[in-house]
Symmetry: C2
Subunit: 241 residues, 2 copies
């Protein structure tokens, strides 16, 4: 999935490694992508911090708080890179506020377990999505994006707690399985909004103008892969009802 | 202020360096102290995260969020040390919940600037207090306590923002000066509650039983030093009304 097809004007699409930030359309796409990742981390920090209030124990609260703090640590390298690219970092991040805030507003957890599933699913989905996108990027940007995905070991505790909760109360599994599907649905809706509103980003993903990228069929396959991995994770933690 | 005086039974008080965790009273005092620091960090994380919602810009929100995250990072080494000392770490931390939560309940910021002053004052006061207490500790515990005080550089942004706010609206200075005094008063009240309820801790601070420590006059001088440093900081940021 290296080269672009399906664009009307595929001006030397080249391989991701040859992509240059001197190309204004590619540069705009990278700025948008980093802005989205940055605001995504900020909003994840806020929501996980909020959801930590639902924790039944101090230990659980600290564990979810640590997931929140880990998100925020990734903002600074993204901010720096946006400055290097000549962008106003917080202005760019702020343009993604509406979409991410809508996602969180539509997926406010009703209790601790819903919060845990959201933390786990959200983290893993973002991870999968950014890894897919990273393959379309020049090496320096790719390394930066991949670096923001590290340090997700905190999610292990979420899996443990969810499994233990379902073992205690099997009915919880059915409710959380529905919740997991709803989270995935909302994430897809908001991701589509973001991409539809951003010509440069959709160009990066689907190929368009002189930005090489995936063709639309490949974008469809990417979403299929994301959905399949989500389903596999849900199954792993006993939420495959 | 190395040796204890003023205790009725100063059984070989010794210097802080010679203090041993084999002494049950000293060990209990250390467990209490680490529990208080640990819960203090957790509650600071929670409150700063909450106060970050008042931020007027995304940049300010991230800066206060980073102060919050830095607090939480200090919890893990304290948890580990409590386990090494044979304590149930979150149970010990949880015993300080009422005092810290009361402090935060009585000092909920009404706006962004009150939140900033609280973040700055709280961070600096905790820093001063733990440095004073650290001088009474065995070297290993002292190093751990001092290490939790690092990484407070984030507070610089608070000072900048407060100064800029007062430059824009001089009346803000008068209100924040009163607020700073109230914060200091509440902190002293809660600190006294904590110490009064904990024989081991008050022994460590004031000397009592076979735990060497400061005498009561020295405790008084310590609180005077803390108050003076607080006043000097308030003056530095233009809040010496």
């Amino acid at each position: 999935m290296a080269a672009s097809v399906g664009s009307d004007t595929p001006l030397d699409p080249g391989s991701p490694s040859s992509r240059s930030l001197d190309d204004p359309a590619y540069r705009e796409a990278v700025v948008d992508l980093l802005g989205a990742i940055g605001y995504g981390e900020i909003s994840a920090f806020e929501r996980l911090g909020e959801d930590a209030k639902l924790a039944p124990t101090l230990e659980d609260k600290v564990a979810l708080g640590q997931m929140a703090a880990a998100q925020l640590e990734h903002v600074e390298p993204i901010r720096q890179r946006l400055v290097e690219l000549g962008a106003d970092p917080f202005a760019v991040m702020g343009t993604f506020r509406a979409s991410f805030d809508a996602f969180h507003r539509h997926t406010a957890p009703a209790d601790w377990y819903e919060g845990l599933v959201k933390a786990y699913v959200g983290d893993a989905l973002a991870d999968d999505f950014y890894r897919e996108v990273a393959e379309q990027l020049d090496p320096a940007t790719r390394d930066l994006v991949i670096a923001t995905l590290e340090d997700t070991g905190h999610a292990e505790f979420a899996v443990e707690r969810i499994r233990a909760g379902i073992a205690d109360d099997p009915r919880l599994g059915g409710r959380l399985a529905l919740w997991g599907r709803r989270l995935m649905g909302e994430a897809l809706v908001q991701a589509q909004h973001v991409v539809a509103e951003r010509d440069a980003l959709s160009g990066l993903l689907a190929g368009g103008g002189d930005v090489p990228g995936l063709d639309l069929a490949e974008v469809g396959r990417m979403f299929t892969r994301l959905t399949e991995r989500h389903a596999a994770r849900m199954s792993e933690i006993g939420l495959d009802h």
